[in-house]
Symmetry: C2
Subunit: 171 residues, 2 copies
DNA sequence: AGATAATTTATTGCCTACGATTTGATTGTG
DNA sequence: CACAATCAAATCGTAGGCAATAAATTATCT
């Protein structure tokens, strides 16, 4: 690597710097101007930040989200997990089977309603809770933001999500 | 639908309402408290909002992002597209082949550097730009927010992404 | 009660996403 | 010139994600 300095930015920053508010700042079709892309790429960055931490736990990011719910309250149905995560059974069923294969959860029919499948943490699944406790702090640290700032941003993002979901329901 | 009223909330809102700032508001492992989940679910809601609009164009969401980049500047390499979208060739190659199969782009080796594959819009690919022009406005409308609010939120999210990416680079 | 309609649940098939490896082209060095 | 190192795409295996479909339960009607 002799002169890889001025070649090209490794990762185009998509900041609004440059151009001094020419036409570019107004063009709604510009990738950098779209909030959908901001969410899309921030989610990817977040997933990447979590990956090495989750590798230690031996689970993927969506699997971690399921475990978070079960640590809050055990013995939920597939349906209920799907409502909280906005995922349907087509996504959850294979995911839960993998968690079952790792010995972290058990899947069993609800005897009161044979249509439902109930998910319970195993002893190992419960034990993983302790190892996961530090993750949010690690991510907050990596973000370089205060917890208050992150909480504010989180609430704005959730509000946007709720508005979008509500608008979709009306359609 | 006789008495399906008080059964259960259709979509748990993950707002911070309830509990009146008991222990729950502080527990960093609570799903609702995690900004990663806010991003994750907002991205999904956004994708869902775009889907019917993109169905009219006949493309998926990531395909749309690629087209946005090409509409800004045509004839980019796979590598360059991947840098902007944080995607590698393993994702882009099949995606671009599908776009090629739909007659929206062409793929050809760069004659100056045969390692690179250049992606060019076809006539139809360029024509699609006009039909896509209205999409961002439709989404803004659905979000119920002002463009200024959305721009502010977008910049905060991009800042978070940049901080996370920078932190990852150091590791 | 028995038959049919409506709702809900879980499973299939296709696309996106990523890590790891492979192949071919280019650049750097002795 | 030859060799090694580097780089870009493509390929393969695994996993997440969603639309459409199939299976099962519940509700309704005669």
């Amino acid at each position: 690597m002799t002169e890889s300095r001025v070649t090209e930015p490794r990762h185009p920053e998509n900041t609004l710097a440059g151009t001094g508010a020419t036409e570019a700042g107004d063009n709604p079709l510009l990738l950098a101007n779209q909030i959908c892309f901001a969410l899309y790429s921030a989610t990817h960055a977040m997933t990447k930040a979590y990956r090495p931490l989750l590798d230690d736990l031996g689970v993927t990011y969506p699997q971690y989200l399921v475990l978070l719910l079960l640590w809050e309250r055990d013995g939920r149905s597939v349906k209920e997990l799907g409502e909280h995560l906005s995922l349907d059974s087509g996504t959850l069923t294979p995911l839960l089977k993998r968690l079952e294969g790792q010995g972290l959860v058990s899947r069993s029919r609800d005897r009161a309603d044979e249509r439902s499948v109930l998910i319970h943490l195993t002893v190992q699944g419960k034990a993983l809770h302790d190892k996961a406790e530090c993750l949010p702090a690690r991510i907050t640290e990596a973000s370089g933001c205060s917890t208050a700032d992150l909480a504010g941003l989180r609430d704005q993002i959730l509000r946007l999500r709720n508005d979008l979901t509500a608008a979709l329901r009306k359609t």
